[in-house]
């Protein structure tokens, strides 16, 4: 008997010996909250509050101000070599100073930046798919402007733009809005560890600085 057949047979034997309770999927209790009473403005406030609580930097602006705000954030961080994923809205980077080198991560494997190039960059710019207000979580799913998973991982600084329509209340709303079969990364604050005396310390292997531009409007 193959291992597969044997393991499946063992499970069936276990069930036969001790019949499990019948609890059909459709009847499972789901009495937790899946809606929110907060309006959009309150959701944005909560998102900003949670982001700050987890040591992310936050800027808020209107859609018109976005190019200037992005350029200012990069200048203040001293970012000279910026990774930009395929499909990034060109207008968002229109304010970039001339001395910022754009490292474009192409759409196909031939145009992908090497790991060494990513490691040599000062930062990465990205959009997101969804932002979760209750937990201060940004979700990237690899679609246009969000990049491959490594692009938002290797550079030490990550600048992420959240658009008004992307803010959802809590985890259930986010999970329902996403297609989790896409390569998905949920990011809540910068890289952190709690491994030393169970105190939270920011900054280990992922980006040590996470900056978020929350676009209002």
């Amino acid at each position: 008997m193959s291992a597969r057949e044997e393991v499946l047979a063992r499970i069936r034997a276990a069930h036969a010996a001790a019949p499990p309770p019948d609890l059909p999927y459709a009847t499972l209790a789901r009495d937790y909250r899946t809606t929110s009473e907060l309006d959009h403005e309150a959701l944005v406030e909560r998102l900003v509050d949670r982001l700050l609580d987890y040591k992310a930097l936050v800027r808020r602006c209107s859609a018109d101000e976005l190019p200037d705000v992005v350029a200012t954030a990069l200048r203040e961080r001293g970012v000279r070599r910026l990774v930009v994923p395929a499909g990034t809205e060109p207008r968002w980077l229109a304010g970039l100073a001339d001395d910022v080198e754009v490292l474009a991560d192409g759409p196909g494997p031939e145009q992908h930046l090497s790991v060494a190039a990513l490691d040599g960059a000062d930062g990465v710019f990205s959009a997101c798919a969804v932002a979760v207000a209750e937990t201060g979580t940004l979700v990237l799913d690899g679609s246009a402007g969000q990049g491959r998973r490594v692009t938002s991982l290797i550079p030490d600084y990550h600048l992420c733009v959240v658009l008004p329509g992307q803010v959802v209340a809590d985890v259930p709303q986010a999970v329902r809005a996403l297609d989790l079969t896409r390569p998905t990364t949920m990011i809540s604050g910068p890289s952190a560890t709690s491994d030393i005396e169970l105190n939270r310390v920011e900054g280990v292997h992922g980006p040590r600085t996470l900056e978020v531009v929350v676009v209002e409007g």
Partner: protein, 521 residues
């Protein structure tokens, strides 16, 4: 061939499903819990480190749990999802296999630790690698994969900070979530200075500096690794999606940079549908690190061209899990999502530390999981490593009734022992004697009065230490008993209600406050 659990009276009529075989893996300690605990109880550094860490995490968990008005509804949803999944495990496993395969992954099945290790070693060799980077994983700890890789000439590098501390310290993990919880910052600094070739000799013991040293130490490994090994927090049967929940970004490094990814996962880690993750992604971070959400959650489904590893292998591990499933009362232990909340609230864990449990699964969940995975006879002392206070049940995000399962396993152990030895155990004899005494009021009253003998035993320290009698010696080896009161409740009652029998026994003879006046002999 795998070891087969001998059938016992408790299991009569049931198929003897194989438990995790002896000889491979880290589910059995070298000594019993009381023996190991007696030593760790004398380690004041350990107790200080553990006390501080568990106090911190208890406070954080309570605060973020209190934020959610629907916490109890989430727990119930989590519990029901797990119960449902376990009842339909064959269907969901086959569905997972089909989904992973359809998306370019390869699924392997492993009956036990040895088989799983062999599969991983062969895959690493086939990838032409002689080293792997690892994401922290309980399943690979359980099967002692690092040791198996080493024996095959493959170097395994732990990349989680706590696992790195344990690996560099030639130590064993002592906590499910924070394996180096028994170490403080000064000890970690010492380990890094001693073991990291490239460390700055001026390294301070600031947590930020220690984390930065780990970053420098592992950076090149991440960027050059060809093969990574991970566990999985969740697998979605419907879509074949796997999820790893972490904080440092070491997980993301391993899951996205190497060419080949090998994930080892217990067969119980399934959820039916992607939407079900909305329950567990709320329960897990708040219960484990006391955060609203962990910094990074990675999800991948098979292979995505151009993004992440282009070869993905999923190893589905039994290693005693089906034996657990065959116990109607004990099988809820499989519902565990490895948050470690039960460890952080357990008074026994806080004092004895994780190493005393002998298994990679310490604390209350370990006390019910390890004996079931190995067969009760190989971890017979663990169901007794609890005060049955119930704190673990209160915090469990999927409502595993750990105290009831502990009691159930104690009964199973007692009956197995009696059947195998053809004589009752010392405990059973003592309990039978106690029952005889308790059946009759006169015998009971006499017994209570004779309990005052205990006052003689404890008069030096005010508590009773080790008592050199069968059963009593086992109990008192790791516990101090209070001295019995001078007067039993029944005697007091009789004295207060003078008309009632039996006759009072000279209540004032050994009056109040006599304790302090009793000098050493």
């Amino acid at each position: 061939m795998t070891a087969v659990r001998p059938s016992s009276p408790v299991l009569l009529g049931m198929p003897a499903l194989p438990t995790s075989p002896r000889g491979t893996g880290h589910l059995r300690g070298d000594e019993s819990f009381p023996d190991a605990a007696r030593r760790s109880l004398t380690d004041t550094q350990l107790r200080r480190n553990l006390g501080k860490a568990t106090r911190t995490i208890r406070g954080k968990r309570a605060a973020v749990v209190a934020e959610l008005p629907d916490w109890e509804a989430l727990r119930e949803a989590g519990r029901q999802l797990k119960v449902h999944t376990m009842a339909h495990l064959p269907d969901y496993l086959v569905q997972l296999e089909e989904a992973v395969t359809a998306r370019g992954g390869v699924v392997h099945w492993a009956r036990d630790a040895e088989e799983a290790n062999r599969i991983v070693v062969d895959l690493v060799r086939a990838a032409g690698a002689d080293e792997v980077v690892k994401v922290k994983s309980m399943a690979t700890q359980e099967i002692a994969l690092n040791e198996a890789l080493e024996a095959a000439g493959i170097a395994a590098f732990e990349t989680d900070l706590a696992e790195l501390i344990v690996q560099l310290g030639h130590d064993k993990p002592s906590h499910i979530l924070v394996p180096a919880i028994h170490r403080n910052r000064a000890e970690i600094r010492e380990i890094f200075l001693r073991e990291m070739a490239d460390v700055d000799p001026e390294l301070s013991d600031e947590p930020a500096a220690l984390a930065a040293a780990a970053r420098r130490h592992l950076r090149r490994k991440f960027l050059s690794a060809k093969v990574a090994v991970s566990g999985a927090n969740f697998a979605v049967a419907e879509t074949g999606t796997l999820a790893v929940v972490e904080s440092e970004g070491n997980g993301r490094m391993c899951l996205t940079l190497p060419e080949t990814l090998i994930t080892v996962m217990g067969i119980e880690k399934l959820v039916p549908r992607a939407q079900d993750l909305e329950v567990f992604l709320q329960l897990l971070p708040r219960s484990s690190t006391g955060e609203r959400m962990n910094p990074y959650t990675s999800m991948w489904t098979g292979v995505t061209p151009g993004d992440g590893p282009q070869a993905f292998h999923l190893v589905l591990l039994d290693n005693g899990r089906t034996a657990v499933l065959s116990d109607a009362q004990g099988r809820d232990a499989l519902n565990c999502i490895r948050c470690s909340a039960c460890l952080n609230v357990c008074p026994v864990y806080e004092r004895a530390g994780g190493h005393a449990y002998g298994s990679v699964y310490p604390g209350p969940i370990g006390a019910i999981l390890s004996p079931q995975l190995t067969g009760i006879e190989d971890n017979a002392s663990l169901p007794y490593a609890s005060s049955l206070c119930g704190a673990c049940y209160d915090v469990c995000p999927v409502k595993i009734d750990i105290p009831s399962i502990l009691v159930h396993l104690r009964a199973e152990h007692t009956e197995t022992y009696a059947a195998e030895h053809r004589v009752p155990s010392a405990e059973a004899t003592a309990m039978a004697a106690a029952a005889w005494v308790m059946r009759n009021p006169t015998r009971w009253t006499l017994a209570l009065r004779s309990g005052r003998l205990g006052r003689v035993l404890g008069r030096r320290r005010g508590v009773i230490g080790e008592v050199p009698l069968p059963v009593a010696s086992q109990w008192t080896a790791t516990r101090d008993l209070s001295r019995p009161p001078q007067q039993t409740f029944r005697d007091w009652w009789a004295a207060e209600h003078a008309s009632a029998a039996p006759e009072p026994d000279g209540p004032g003879a050994d009056g109040p406050g006599a304790d302090g006046s009793e000098g050493a002999p």
